[in-house]
Symmetry: C2
Subunit: 97 residues, 2 copies
């Protein structure tokens, strides 16, 4: 199943603000099975998102939802887009229902 493990980089000093936006309770995301937001204590500016989607299309569709776009618009000013990294995976076992 389509899985992403990615890093967003906050601008200096804005990591906790970015984290607050990314951990807000939100409306359901169709086709989403996992959306974990985490930090790495060795990476002061990073916010890590680990996502599993029923399909790559479900992920792409989520980015067009109004409530997701509104959140992205608030997060974007806090993000250093040069620091973005993303690993694409194919989850084979252990995907939550």
């Amino acid at each position: 199943m389509f899985m992403l493990h990615g890093r967003l980089s906050a601008k200096p000093g804005r990591r906790d603000d970015l984290l607050r936006i990314m951990t807000e309770e939100g409306e359901p995301l169709p086709g989403n099975r996992l959306y974990v937001v985490a930090v790495d204590e060795t990476d002061a500016d990073g916010v890590w998102a680990t996502e599993i989607w029923e399909s790559e299309q479900a992920h792409a569709a989520s980015l067009r939802l109004a409530h997701v776009q509104e959140r992205i618009a608030r997060a974007l000013p806090l993000i250093d887009t040069d620091g973005i990294r993303q690993q694409r995976l194919d989850a084979r076992a252990g995907v939550p229902d």
Copy 2:
């Protein structure tokens, strides 16, 4: 919450054998909230495990369970221990119940 995103490296040609062992249905793991096993199409020998545990101690205790040790003993001959990598994270949102 204690989270690991790690890579095991299979010996050449043994990735699918390692994957089979790692995706077997098993007995419950106390304190485990997530245990996803995945592959990365750009990484022919890697098997990736993404785990969330209620505490670091729960993870350590799981490694002492007889059924886990039995599985590790079967997997170890398939693993290139030089290829092991692991990222430690602190999951802040989205952890399954």
